[in-house]
Every structure is written in C-alpha cells, then in structure tokens.
Symmetry: D2
Subunit: 452 residues, 4 copies
C-alpha cells in the first residue's frame, strides 16, 4: 500500500465501521485491520468519508458580459478545501455553437486548471436536429446529463423542444437536469413590479413565487411522463413543487430532487436586510418562507429529496451584484457555496438530528455520483474506487467567514455562522490536497471524468 488511513470510522451511504483503509496507485485497494503501508494517516476519532461530489456548480461562467468570480482554479481549490473532490460544471453553448464545439472549448478552459476531477453537464438551448444528433455522440464521450432551462431567454427551451430533448435523452441514457421556473410568468411579474417602482432586492422573491416554480416542474414532469424519461429537478425550493413531485412518483415516474444549503438554511427574510444587502441572496429560484425549509429537511430525511448540491455561482457584492442597484432584475443571480456545503450539512443536518450520518454521505456524495454516472469511481469507499477521501473531525469548530474561505468572492451568505465538524484532511486520488486549513494539492491534477 502507498498509504493507509488507520483507525478511522469509515462512513458510506449505508455503512459505518471501524477499519483501516489501504490506498495504492490512487485507488482504494484494501480494507481491513492492521494494514501496513509506508505512509500512515491516523484517523482516530475521525470520520472517513468518501470525497464529496457537487454536481451543480458554475465556475467562470460568462453571462451578460460578466463572469462568475471563481474560475476553475480558485473554484476547485475552494471545493477541495471544503471536502468536495468532484464537481460537475456545465457546457453552455453560445448561440449557433454546436454542443461538441462548446464542450471542446469548455474542456480547454478547465483541463490543466482544475485541482480536482470534474465532469460537465451539457446544456441544450434548442432541439435542432444537429443538437439531437450530438447527444448520443457526447453521451459516449462522458457527457451523460443534460441541463434544460424553462427560463432565461438565452437558455430556455419551449415545450415542444423539451419533448424532443427528453425523448432523445431517454434514448441514449442521458439524465435531464431541469431548472423549473415559468419564464413568461417571471417576465410578467418582474415587469409589474418595476412598473410599480418596486426596484429593491426585496422584490426579487415576489417576481418568482413558488407557483412559478411548481408550474414549470409540473409541466416538465408531465412532458417527461409522456416520453417515459426520468427527470432530475435542480434546486427545488418549496412545498408546492414537492407536492407535484409526489404526484408524479405516485403515477410511476422516476424523479430526482436536488436542494441546496441556501434553500435549506436561509429564508426570504434575508431579502429584508437593510440597504442593498439583500442582493447577496438573490438567486433563482429565490429563498422561500421558513415552512419550506422544514419540508425540504423532511424530504431529505425520508428519501423524497436525493441530492444536496451548491449551485455555486459567485458574484462579488462590491462589483457584479452592484449592477442591480436601481433594478433588482439586473442583479446577477447566484450565490457562493462550493466550500461550505459539507460543514453546513454536517452541523445543521447531522448534528441537529435532521438527517443521519449515512444519509449525509448519500445525498452529498453517493447519489450525485450514481445519478450522474460517476459511480463506483466516485461516491463511495470500496475496493477499486478512487481514493477520494475526507478525514473529517466531527468536533472541530469553525466560524465561517469569507475572509478565511478559499472562494474568490467578497462575501459569504453564512458569514458568522458557527459550524461544528470540519474536514481535517482531504485526499484526492490518493494525494493529500487539503491539510491544516490550506490547499496543498496541485492545480492541474484534476481530470475530466467520462461519465457513464
């Protein structure tokens, strides 16, 4: 063995046990007791988690002339420092650009500049024949998921396009990941608010209320039902949408639900912060009333919600967010979170008894890996899996602050929150990448993941 992690408590989606973990050539090679190796890490009193998988991040995403503030370098370093050893970002083709071309360019941006392994979802903005033909080709190259938007003019597809894309996705085993908000409704409500002079961040949630989200979710699920295609609902936020999902499941549909720490832990009260502070919390769908948080936690615990991702999409408050001063609809939507997900979920989820330790691993690592074709390489600790490992100190206390985090953004939505439980050491493919609070890995060590 090249490395052995001794005396830790290994936790997977279903198991918890004491054992030594032997690593060889970047893979988990042996699990047992009293394993010998040249290098030893003592994990007594620590949890040994599979590296966490964040299947929804937006690094150096350019939109409307601005670019999200974490690039592949800073973003993957921040991920690693937070316990995430795999991310899935997006291929967003420009108008007229083919998916293959866009994928190639995106790979160019990332390859050699990532600290951890990464995958890419495709984003389809049309259902032209060429697009449909590219899907099976790209699926074979490891792009086995497809982001679809029901809003945003540059990205959205209409119902007929959705149907063709869902059918095509189904036929080549691609999983659709859908952002569900009714575009026309959002446009209408925004205009109404602006016409009434309601321009502050506090009006953002009123421009995208729960019905707007639940409507689009119901529509997408109905269309998917017609072509018998599974659907992954990105960042579900509210009771109304959850009810829609349950109805679809009762009629036999395969539906997966993703939530984010933002929607689990923050409420629409944040928009009432003085001045322009609310802009820090502008994202879509927006933060909701507190009853929704409770429902999301219940769903996470009892199996109705499958994944916790971050939808990390950082904008500096002092710079990009300021574009929306005077018009909340111009505030770039998105919040940072790639580095804080694991600590928050452990403290607020596991410690508070809302979810079990196994479930924590399942929704933050195993299910994202399985749903997106990364398993068994990622998402678990078994013989042959990548040695992506988080040695986690359940008692380490940290006060979150943007100053200490590695995210390249000038605020943290959870500024000042105290968490208990934090990664001690993070290992990616057998190499230590985070230790004593610092990134110690190598930019460029991450690879593109051909997902299955």
């Amino acid at each position: 063995m090249d490395l052995v992690i001794k005396n830790g408590t290994i936790v997977t989606a279903s198991d918890i046990y004491r054992a030594d973990l032997g690593i060889r050539e970047g893979k988990v090679a042996l699990i047992g007791r009293d394993i010998y190796a040249d290098e030893v890490i003592d994990a007594s009193g620590k949890y040994v988690f599979p590296g966490f998988v964040d299947p929804h991040v937006h690094l150096q995403m350019t939109i409307g002339g601005i670019t999200s503030t974490d690039d592949f370098v800073t973003g993957t370093i921040a991920a690693a420092c937070g316990g995430t050893t795999t991310i899935i970002d997006f291929v967003d083709p420009k108008p007229g650009e083919s998916l293959q071309e866009a994928a190639r360019k995106r790979r160019e941006q990332a390859d050699g500049r990532v600290a951890i392994d990464y995958g890419l979802h495709l984003t389809a903005t049309n259902a032209l024949p060429q697009t449909l033909e590219e899907l099976p080709i790209l699926a074979k190259e490891g792009y086995t998921s497809l982001k679809l938007y029901t809003t945003y003019p540059a990205l959205m597809v209409e119902d007929g396009e959705l149907l063709r894309l869902l059918k095509a996705a189904k036929s080549c085993g691609i999983l659709p990941v859908v952002h569900t908000e009714n575009h026309q409704a959002v446009e209408f409500l925004k205009q109404e608010l602006l016409d009434e002079g309601k321009i502050e961040p506090r009006y953002h949630p009123r421009s995208r209320p729960p019905l707007v989200e639940a409507e689009a979710a119901n529509r997408v699920l109905a269309l998917a039902g017609l072509v018998d295609c599974p659907v992954y609902i990105a960042h579900l936020t509210c009771l109304e949408t959850l009810e829609i999902v349950e109805i679809a499941r009762r009629r036999g549909q395969e539906v997966y639900v993703e939530v984010t720490p933002n929607h689990l832990l923050l409420s629409e009260e944040e928009y009432e912060r003085p001045g322009f502070e609310g802009a820090k919390f502008v994202l879509s769908p927006p933060l909701r009333g507190k009853r929704n948080q409770e429902a999301l936690w219940l769903g996470l615990a009892d199996g109705r919600v499958q994944v916790v991702s971050t939808d990390h999409c950082p904008w500096n408050f002092a710079v990009e967010k300021q574009l929306g001063r005077g018009d909340f609809t111009k505030i770039p939507g998105g919040m940072p979170g790639i580095e804080t997900r694991i600590a928050l979920l452990f403290s607020e989820g596991v410690r508070r008894g809302r979810i079990s330790l196994n479930r924590f691993v399942e929704v933050c690592s195993t299910l994202p890996a399985k749903l997106f074709g990364l398993y068994p390489r990622k998402g678990t600790i078994i013989i042959g899996s990548d040695a992506d490992i988080v040695i986690f100190n359940p008692d380490k206390e940290v006060t979150l602050s943007y100053k200490d985090l590695h995210q390249n953004v000038d605020y943290c939505p959870f500024e000042g929150w105290r968490v208990r439980g934090y990664p001690d050491i993070v290992i990616a493919k057998g190499k230590v990448v985070f230790r004593e609070g610092e990134f110690v890995g190598e930019v460029g060590a991450g690879e593109f993941l051909r997902r299955i």
Copy 2:
C-alpha cells in the same frame, strides 16, 4: 296573467314545491296556488324546471374550410326541443380581425335566426394592446366571458399572453373559459403516432392523454393564481385534472369546472368500434377510461364540478368526419349533443341516484346562468325572471336516435340509448316552443343576451 302552469312541481337549484306559476309578458309574475289566467297548462305529475342553459356550443362554426352542421336555426331549434332555452356560443375572430368586428359579424349570423335567446363568449387569440382594450368595452356590451385555448394553432395563446389576458379579464369582471391541453405535447404525440403508421381513430386518445390536459390545467391555474383571476375549466375529463383543481382550491383560488355528457357517459372504448366508426367520438379532450367517469359523477354530486354543458359541435359522419380517413388527426373534432343533454342527465344522473333533482337543475341551468351573467333573468324560476320553462315528464320513455332528433347531423353518439324522462312542453319567454315532440316556436324569437 297571460298563462298559468298549474299543479306542477317547481324545481330550482335549491327548492322543490307544488305551486301554480303565473306568467305575464314573458316573465314569471306570480307564484302561488289557484292562480287564474286565460291560458292554462296543466302540469300535474310533471316537473316544472327553469329553462336549461347550455353555455358551451359551437353552431355554424367555420374552421379549416368546413362549418359545423348545425347553424343557428337548426341548432337553436334542436336545443329548444331538448329543453335548452338559452345557449352561449362563441365569437371567434379571424386572423387580424378585431374582437369588436368579429362580434358584430357573429351577431349578424345569429340575430333573427335563433329560436331561443343566446349569448356569446369572446375568444381571444392574442394579447395585443388592442385586444386588451376591447375587453372592457365588450364586457359592457354583454360579452363577459372569454374563451382561451392552450392548443390549436389558430386559437391558442402562450403563457405570457395568458397572463395579460387573465389580468385584463380580472380587471373588468370577465370570466376566462379555458380549453386546457398542452399544444406542443399534442403535436408531438400525433407526429409520433403517424410516424408509426397509427392512423386510425383509435389512436386519437393516445395523442391527447390525461397528462396533456392536466398539465395545461395546472399551468392555467398557476398563472391565474398569480393575477388572482377566477378560471372556468371547459370540459374537464379526468381524475388527473380534478386533482389539480382541488390543489388550486385549497390554496384559495376560485375555479369552476365544466363537464359534458359525452365524458360522463361514454368511454374510450368507443374508439375501438370497427372500421371508421370511432371517428364519431373524436373530440378534444377525448373520451377517457371508465374510472374517470365515476370521478366526474362524484364531483358533480359533491360540488367539485359546477356545470354540465354539451360542447355541441356536430360534423356529419358521412361527410366531414370522412376527412380523417387515413389520418385520425384530420378528423374534425367534436360531437353533437345540444338536444340530448337534459334527457341524458335526468335518466343517467337523477334516476340512477348519482345527483339530486336540485343539483340537476343547478348544473344544467342555474350555475351556467350565474357564472355567465345571465342570472336572474335565466337559470331559475323567480318573480321577474324570464318565463323560460320546461315541463318535464319524468316517466316518458324515449329511445334516442338521430332520426328523431332535430340536430342536423347524421348520427347520435347515444344512438339506441333508452332514456326515461323527457320534456313535454318547452316555453321560452312565455311562448310554447316545443310540444308533442315538435318545435312550435318561431325562428327569430331569440335575442342576444347582454350578460353582466
């Protein structure tokens, strides 16, 4: 009194009682016992119902170069002979035509050629400023309802248009009447079936399954919820849509539901008839599986369904329906029914114990009158209301046949059905228009109703 109806059992939406009914100048003028008049009709052993209101008919509707086979003359005669003394038809503007112009032309087609009073729903096929401006003007002229389609290329409106139309309707007290089917889904499914060579009528229901209807209903209700506008769902057919309506009501929305005798009494098995016979039953949304019928009857009984209309839209089997031989998507959609609604509802509803006598009157007369601004002139028997009266023999047995009916169409979907209970005499505005099986009224006696 000009006329007295003696010894009958008067039935309204809420009452049943024995009394004489005095009519003067076409109005109900006196209710009591032992009323004297020059002319007397003895109604011993008969029910005295308010004239029935059919709020959803399509007479001489031209679409795709063909015209529905009942014009205002034959259609209103058939209505009268079946106990219906008020209909509401539609103003369907041609491309580029203003609503006001279309309304004027539609009035020209009908005025002087109707045997009974009639109203007109507007149909909006766009949300252009001119259209929105016309709505309050036309509302004041008695067009207080607005048909909206989510399917049919010539008619449908998109979500943004829907929102503006719903908002405009709300602001001037117009009730939206919505045909809910997802257009893109229908197009997609039709194409798939045709591509597989599935061209017979039996494939019609598979091109418009329940999810297609329920999706559009949910979308319309969500949008209406955003602008706080009531909605009347035309011809709801299935459990899935009913569930959606219940969810909307629980969140406080005002939703009205219409069903038709076709969907209450016939099932998708009709499409399995040999040869091209299934074409007789092609309508949209299509006939459904039998479990849905049971659910519609329950909803009708317990108050979740408000109206039974006919959606009368007749095409001759030997002529127009033949257009779809070789391609079910070209079968003109629609079925006759304007004359048989009341007899069917009484026999199959009241006699079988599915609905009460009061509820029968309520859903076939009072609620359509109230929801569409005809009350108290229509829909009930009270002092001052129009003397539209059906003297109904609960024991008269009739075998339905297109040969005996007055509908101008070469088939009856209920051919050979035996009903028990049939109108003896029908009175419109104080004049007998139907007696001994024959129309004895006057074409041209009907008037346009300015609805409130």
Copy 3:
C-alpha cells in the same frame, strides 16, 4: 293574505330577487308584485331571509350536576332575537333509560316552553338491541338524526357499537351526527398535562390537538364507508380533519361538515388571556391556530363545508366555569352563540367577501333544514313553507355585548365586536316575534318538529 312583506329582496340558497311575499295562516302563500294584505311590512332596502336554522344547540342540558344556563325559554327567545326560528336540540338518555323514554321526557321539558319550533336529535350511548329497535320507531316520529360521540365516558360508543348504529341508522334513513375526538387520546394527554402541573385553561387545546380530532373523524368515516352510511361531522375545526373528509369523498362517501362561528372567527390565542379568562373559550374540540380558520372559510365558500351551527352550550363564567379553576379539565366545555351566529356570519362572511349571500342562507338555513328533514317546511321561502322570515337590515351596526343579548349567560365570546347587518324583524310562522330589539313573540308558540 294575512300579511304581506313588501318591497324586500328575497334571498334563498340559490336566488335573490325583489318581490312581495304574501303570508296566510302562517305559511308563505303568494309571491309576486303588488300583493294586497291587511297587514303590511315594508322591507324596502332590507333582505328577506328564510328563518335561520340552528341544528346544534344544548339548552338546559344537565351534565355532571350542572345545567347549561339557557333553558328552553331563554334559549329560544335568544335564538329568535338573533334571527334563528328553528333549533334542533338533543335527547340525551340517562344511563339505563330508553331512547323513547328520554325523548318523552325531553319533550316535556320543551313543549309549551319554546318560543320557536324545535326538533330533537337522538343521542345513542350504546348499541344494545333495544336501542337499535327504537331507532326506526323514533325515526317515524320525527327523530331522524342520531348524535354519536367518540369521547366523553357517559356518551361515547366504541367502534363495534358505532358500526351497528351506523348500519341501523342507514337502514331507517337516520343521519348520524358525530362528535369526533379520540377519547383515550384525550384522557392520556389530559393526564400527562396534569401530571406536569399544567392546570390552566391554556393547556386545554394541548389536551385535544388536531390529530385527536382527525383520527376520530377518519375512523368514523372508515366505519361508515363499510356500511355505506352518510355521516355529518359536527363542529369540524381543522385542516387535518378536512383533508380526511376529502379523501372519504373521493372514494365516494357522503359526508357533511359543520363548523361554528367560534372556530371560524376565534383562535387558540384566546386561551392565552390573562388569569382564568381563557376558560370562557373552553369547548371541545378547542379553538385552533389561525391557518385553520382560513381553511374553514375556504371550505365554506367552495362547498366542502355544509353547515354553520352554534353548538350553543352556555355556562356562566362566574359560576360554572369556575369549577375548573385549578384544573382545566374540570372547566365545563361549551360557549354561548345561539343569538350571534347570523350577525357574525353576515358581517364577517358576506361583508368581507368570504361567502356569497346565497351561500350564507344556504349554510345557516337551507342545508341544515334539508339535511335534517325540515325542508321544505323550513330553510327556504317557497309556496307552502312556514312563514319563518328574517327581515334583515344590512346596514344596521351593533356592538355585541352580553348585556344587550338575550342569552342567559354572563359573557359573550365576541364581546365588543362590531357587526354591520342585524335582524330588524323576525317572523315565526307568520307572527312577528322580534322587533325593535325586543322579543315580542309568545313562549309556547313553538312546536316540536317531526322531521322526515
């Protein structure tokens, strides 16, 4: 005509119209315009309502050695002064007493001492053969409803008894009226609270939470489903029970729901009043959180709730309620309301746009009359019905106070509430019984109603 009410606006469950109302020999005899009579009441600008029916009152009910403070004299006078011209009280047999004997005794208490007509529900406290045999006999004598309790040791029946009683009721056309709370759960929770020293009125709602009510309702509806018997749920209070009712209806059961002004308008916050004041609001099931009120109003508006009764059961705060000082479980349960129902429902329901004028009449008069076999004698204004009439001034403003009310009790739960709309004149069987704020009728004029 003996009396004519001129120029009023007659309102029934389904109609609203201007007409004169002719009364002869205590009955509605003629409806029209310009009717002549010896005595005329001008109702210009007033509503002419059918006398209201309160199907759930407890006058001079003796329980645990104390007697509710309104006897048949004061209680029926108070009812009349509030616009209620018919009540239905209860026959509560003593241990070992036959239903027939108990009914005879209860008749003795009431006959000659009631100001308005009254009926009596039976209460079955067992399902012994004798009891089951008495039901059809008493049904023929006009006792066509049967109160059943799932709690209170002296009254409650077990599931097996319930089944036999529901089956027997079904077979002789008796409607079961059920108080649904799980007795063992209430006893358990009460004991837990007392064991923790929680003795104040504020703990009352915690001893009977919504689940306790919804559980019993579900049980009763399941049992009724097995024997195909309709059920009337008395004083439903919460969302949880309403959901249970909707499930039962969807499977085809006939279920009626009653609510009270207390649960519509007051919340559990009342229990937090200082000192022992909360005891004034102790009733079972208790007042609930505000979300439930909204749901009850919605149900009332859209047809899921059928009746508003009072469950009038007054105890003086200074006397009987004091029995529970030091132990909330000993507070006599019940609140007054027989006189304030109509004014409250009109002000808070009709005026605030929560229910329509027709629906107001329907739930306070017509449906109670119909469901309990009083129709068409009571519950409406039609030829031949009793001339029970409320001439109601929609603009009269009154501040409610126990000092002004005729209820024989030392407090009013709505003390200080300002209502707009109040009865001007109340007529029972053709005789004015209330005018200018005073009872002007005759004690003893009321009769026992043989219900059908």
Copy 4:
C-alpha cells in the same frame, strides 16, 4: 484468513464491486484483491450478498390449539436454504404471563434448535404497569422491538394502551411493529357475511377490506404522533394505507413500512380458486386487487416502503387449513414463505426492473438489520460484520414447488412459478450452511441476537 470468497461481485445496500472477501473467525476480516486463505470459494459470475434478514416470521407459534408447522429447526433450515441467515420471531406471552417469563420460555424453545441466528420481538397484549416496567429491562437484554396488534382478541390493545405502550417504547428506544386492522370492524363484517351464509374462503378479503387496514394505520400513526414515537407498519397491503403513511410523513413523523412477497405478487383473485383452494391464501391483511401491487412496487422502488419480510406462518392445507371448511373465519391465517422470499424478489423485482440490485439488498437485509438493531453485525458486508454471506447465481433457474422446498408445509403459494436467480451457497458466521440445494449446516449453530 480462514476462508476467502474470490472473484465475486459484492453487493450491499449502496455498493456493487468486484473484490475478494476474507473471513476469519466467522467475521468479515479483509476486503481487497488477491487475498490468500486456506479455503477458497470461487464466486466468479456470482453475486456476493450479505445474508438476508427476515424480521417477521412465526415459527412453532401456538394459537387456538394448533401450532404453525415449521418449528425452529425446520423453519431456520428452510430460511438458510433460501438465503436468509437471520430471522426475528416473536415472544407472545400467554394470558397472565409476564414478558420476561414469556421471553425466557421462547428462548428455551429456540436455543439449541436454530440453524441460524435469531432475534425476538416482544408482543405486548396489555399496558399494565408491570408490562411497561419490563420493557426497558428487556430492551437492555436485546429485545428492542415491540409487536402491537389492533386486532385478534388474545393479542390486541386498545387506544389508551397503545398510547402508554408507544410512549414507553419511545422512552427506551424500542421500535413498535404494528399489525393494523380495526378489530371491531373485522368482527362486524365477518358476522355479516356468516349471517348471509357466505362461508367460503372467497369471502375472507371482504371481511377485511382496505379501509379496515387504513383506518387502524391512521389511528396508530395519530397516536404515535401524539407521543412522538416512530412506528413500523407490518405487512402494509394497499394504496389506502400508503396514502395515510404519506400524510403522517409530511407532518414529520417517522414511519417505516413493511410489505411481503405475498402482497407484492399475488392478488385477491387467488381466493376465487375452485373448491377450498382459496384457503391456502388466507392471511391477514388479505391479498388485494392488482392496483395495490403496482403501488407497493413503486413504493419499494422510490423509498416509501422500507422492508420486505415474509410473515412466514405455515399451516398445512390438508390439516390446519381444513378447520375453516364451512366457515372461512376459522381458517388459520397465514402463508409460508421463509424460503422463497429472496428468489422471488430477485426474479420479480430485480430482473423485471422494478427495483435495483442495491435496493433489493437494502429492503431484504440492510434495512431490516438497521431498523431492528442488528446492524452492523448483520445486514451488510463490512469489516467486522458477521460473515453471513449468500453466493447467488443470477442465472440459475428453478421451478418452485413445495416438494423441493425445505419448508415443512404441504403447499407453496407460488407452486410452479419459475424463478431465475437462486442461492448457490449460503454461509452463516463463516460456515457454509447451504450448498448444492441442501442444508449442510448445523442445527444449534444459531444464536440469540441481543439487538440494540
């Protein structure tokens, strides 16, 4: 290592991977590749499952003078031959017997006579102080679950008892396992059927319809909600109960659901078999209509159902079942199944695509182990767990017949069913107990499991 299983595909609730499995001293000791041991089993092309756990069996259960036909010897041999290496049976105290005394006697029956490890659920038939006091004592001794019945006179507890038992269970970490059917309803329906001369087996399901089960489930969940106690619903069979469970979960309750292969795969049509054959399928709750099967499979797949057990309770058709000739209520309730569960679930569940391979292991092994305090000793394959292993040939085809099975009963409900996939070798605590179709283990090798 004492034994190594080489080249197999290890499957746990969350993982699937190729590895060798080293066993030492009856425990899993090493997982890796190329492990050396004295004894080697080649598992190429086979699945290596954790031994399956059947948490609901009734061996040598005496009731009404007869004893279920599998005793601890034959029953545990049959279990082992079917791939089940752990069972949980019951301690059913006799009237007046303490739980501790009953547990001691039950241990005497089993110890030394079991081929595999076993646990025991307690059964509480009362909530007397002594019983409540015994619970924490017995919990410490490994009896950490408590069967409660809402039916069967000898076993059932009333609501008040239920509350006290649920509260006591909660306080000492005992999981209640509840058989939910409304006793009084069953008694009533049985009597009605017998009174009508309906004595054949086909009437069994009509004496215990879905509402009877769903009612009791709702009641138990409501009561559990009041004391915040988790509940495990034994053998749920129908849509109605599943809806109740979902409502409870939405309000935050912890509910686990168990189903059996009988209810997943057989329908009430079995009761229509000629002659007395239907008696073979008499169990409670009964087999249901086919729509329910579909719903149970969906719930199993999407996580709403947690466990598949057998409720194995065999009676010979030629002997005990004959007691009910002439009166279906006297047919001993119960069906065999301890040996066929795994083969059926694999063939009908995994092979038909209804559930995944991981889910199969989860519901048949891991979750039963976790919920009942056997994990991590049982239910998975991790370092330190018992070496209970099933080497499963996914392609082995077997036609089920009672003649070939080891169950001591004269029929198999699945007689003639062809399964594909069957255990090749079964290992219990490191020893092979089943090989080449025969039991090769040792009676007496099984131990009592102190559950946590």
